[in-house]
């Protein structure tokens, strides 16, 4: 064999190897859906961005952002999205009737008479303010379509009841102007003050008995709220501005006095700008991913400022989780243009000023979300060759194992309320989704029934 022939053989072999991966099943599914998809692609994400926030046990607030695309599909497969019945959840009957009564956190709270969670309820997003008190935003069948519905628990998820949902549709981000409405995520700061968002923004200050549509002064009315978290008496939201960057607005939890921060978070060149907002006490971080980490902002001394996020050089997306105001981890999917590929963990102990790689690679090919409930425990949700899976490390990232079975679908949520209690929502890709809870620090996860 001549040198030229060997060169060509090696070149072809190198190309074959670089392109050895076949089209992922997700792409095959996406393309199969094209003939039924007349709407033009939206100029902003088709993904829902959901996260859990937690409070308690001296951990500060722990939030993990997870990006998913499948949930929007799941909702469509569920029979379309209809408007929510005004004033109450589907099938909830008189659930909206407020009555005075005793919230342990405020004498002004409102008690909503419990009613059963409607049959066919599919969870989309969850928030817990203590080990006992949590809310789940989901969808439920109504009038041939699906409506927004909210379930509430006061006993750590053992029992659930329906409470009023915002009078809007289940939010689907993207998919045409008509679909850019509704809410897809929920957060509560305490038993009174909560928000439903994505892309619309709604607030309640009576424990969910009534909801009111919010506007952020200085932003176009149609600017979708893509992320929202609450901590230390404040609520912070990231909204996608038509000027093609993200703006950050903050308010006191009970005041609705939204104010825009001067800092802007630019978007990248990819088709799916994705914002990840994480709070821990009075600290906060924002990472903008657009297939790769693009930009960031940090909350310091009460003000959001531009911040250089980790993983700018890995050519892949990154997600954050914080254990406290100083300690956070970034799980970054090192892209095909760098090596070694895979999901790497980077830790900061100086509030995000610097990061260093830690532990070993997580057994994932892509990462959707990460949680960092205590310094020794890191839980990440993503995909590997086995499918969608949650993996956990209980020795600071040195070793990993699957903590949920690998399956089909995507993760809609991941976060811990305490060192022991956490949740994740799995959208199974067939129109159904399931809320999993752990009560042993992420070692085992079990489905929650509504």
């Amino acid at each position: 064999m001549t040198g030229d022939e060997r060169f060509e053989r090696d070149l072809r072999a190198a190309l074959d190897d670089l392109a050895r991966e076949p089209a992922p099943e997700r792409l095959v599914d996406r393309v199969a859906g094209i003939p039924a998809q007349p709407a033009l692609a939206s100029s902003y994400p088709t993904r829902l961005r959901l996260a859990v926030r937690g409070v308690g046990s001296g951990l500060g607030l722990i939030a993990a952002g997870v990006a998913i695309a499948i949930l929007a599909v799941a909702i469509r497969q569920g029979g379309g999205v209809g408007p929510a019945p005004t004033g109450g959840p589907p099938g909830g009957g008189a659930g909206a009737s407020p009555a005075s009564g005793g919230s342990p956190t405020s004498s002004a709270s409102t008690v909503v008479h419990p009613s059963p969670v409607p049959a066919g309820f599919e969870p989309l997003s969850a928030t817990f303010v203590s080990v006992d008190d949590g809310w789940v935003l989901g969808s439920a069948p109504c009038g041939g379509g699906r409506c927004a519905a909210v379930a509430q628990t006061a006993d750590g998820g053992a029992t659930w009841s329906a409470v009023p949902a915002p009078a809007t549709s289940v939010g689907i981000l993207g998919g045409g102007a008509a679909a850019n409405a509704g809410v897809s995520s929920i957060r509560f700061a305490d038993r009174l003050n909560g928000w439903a968002f994505g892309p619309e923004l709604w607030a309640t200050h009576d424990g969910g008995a009534t909801w009111r549509r919010e506007a952020i002064s200085g932003l176009p009315a149609a600017a979708p709220v893509m992320a929202l978290e609450t901590a230390a008496g404040a609520v912070h939201a990231a909204a996608y501005d038509p000027a093609h960057d993200f703006r950050i607005a903050s308010a006191a939890i009970a005041a609705d006095d939204w104010r825009l921060a001067p800092a802007r978070v630019p978007v990248g060149a990819g088709p799916v700008p994705q914002i990840d907002l994480v709070l821990a006490g009075r600290a906060g971080w924002i990472v903008e991913n657009d297939r790769t980490v693009v930009a960031g902002a940090r909350l310091e001394a009460g003000a959001w400022r531009a911040w250089q996020p980790p993983c700018l050089d890995v050519v892949g997306p990154g997600v954050l989780a914080a254990a406290d105001e100083q300690t956070l981890v970034a799980a970054c999917a090192v892209g095909a243009m760098a090596e070694p590929q895979g999901v790497h963990l980077f830790e900061s102990t100086d509030a995000g000023t610097s990061f260093g790689e830690t532990g070993s690679r997580a057994p994932l090919d892509s990462v959707a979300g990460v949680a960092f409930p205590v310094h020794s425990t890191v839980v990440a949700a993503g995909e590997n060759r086995q499918g969608a899976v949650v993996v956990g490390s209980f020795d600071g990232g040195r070793t990993w194992r699957n903590v949920t079975p690998a399956g089909r679908g995507s993760f809609a949520d991941l976060g811990f309320t305490t060192a022991d209690q956490g949740i994740v929502i799995v959208a199974e890709g067939n129109g159904t989704s399931v809320l999993l809870m752990t009560r042993d620090g992420g070692q085992t996860w079990a489905p929650v029934g509504f």
């Binding site: 060997r6 670089l18 392109a19 089209a23 393309v31 003939p35 657009d290 790769t292 243009m337 070694p340």
Partner: protein, 197 residues
């Protein structure tokens, strides 16, 4: 009269529905697993990112669906879809250059995978040279990487590459010449360091 109009409208709608269904079936037959694999792999080589490759392949398929009525000869689907894909990949590369992102202006091709997947232990010389080629591919310009992928991965002729990329044959030859010269130099350097074969 009104009933008649309704009936005509219904028949037209049925015919349109049937046409839509036929079109969807034809599209599904052509944009099958094989063509998606081929498109995705090409996009991976050119864009250097599997995530971008996935989006580019999807966007190309979406464009193909929207322009499906322009495909006169189904036998020429591969070439037609290939042209769409080449343009989608170029658009993405241009968008990257405009964006204030962390990507290099000229994004590289993926690096070589773990050696074990490339060669058996007794083929370390092959591994070294292919690694060197992967690194050299990464440093090619997008235009050069495009012609290399079309020529040596999709096995297109210079004529076919010119048709697919919309540039002249002379330009294709020139790009191939400079790309191969760069790759060959890297390969030669690696070969010099490898044991004699």
């Amino acid at each position: 009269m009104i009933e008649g109009r309704i009936e005509v409208a219904r028949i037209v709608r049925l015919a349109e529905d049937r046409r839509d269904a036929d079109r969807a079936r034809a599209f599904a037959d052509l944009v099958d697993r094989r063509s998606l694999d081929r498109a995705y792999r090409y996009a991976t080589l050119v864009l250097g990112s599997r995530a971008d490759a996935e989006d580019a392949t999807h966007d190309a398929a979406l464009t193909a669906w929207r322009r499906f009525s322009e495909l006169r000869e189904p036998d020429r689907f591969d070439a037609w879809f290939g042209r769409i894909l080449v343009n989608v990949c170029r658009d993405r590369l241009r968008a990257r250059r405009r964006a204030p992102a962390s990507l290099d202006a000229d994004p590289p091709v993926p690096t070589a995978p773990a050696h074990a997947t490339l060669a058996a232990p007794d083929e370390t010389d092959d591994v070294a040279t292919r690694d060197a080629l992967a690194t050299a591919l990464r440093s090619l310009s997008a235009d050069h990487r495009e012609v290399v992928a079309l020529r040596f991965y999709l096995d297109l002729t210079v004529d076919q590459i010119a048709a697919r990329t919309g540039v002249g044959q002379g330009t294709v030859k020139s790009r191939l010449h400079y790309a191969i010269r760069h790759l060959r130099a890297a390969w030669d350097r690696a070969s010099d360091r490898s044991p004699e074969r």
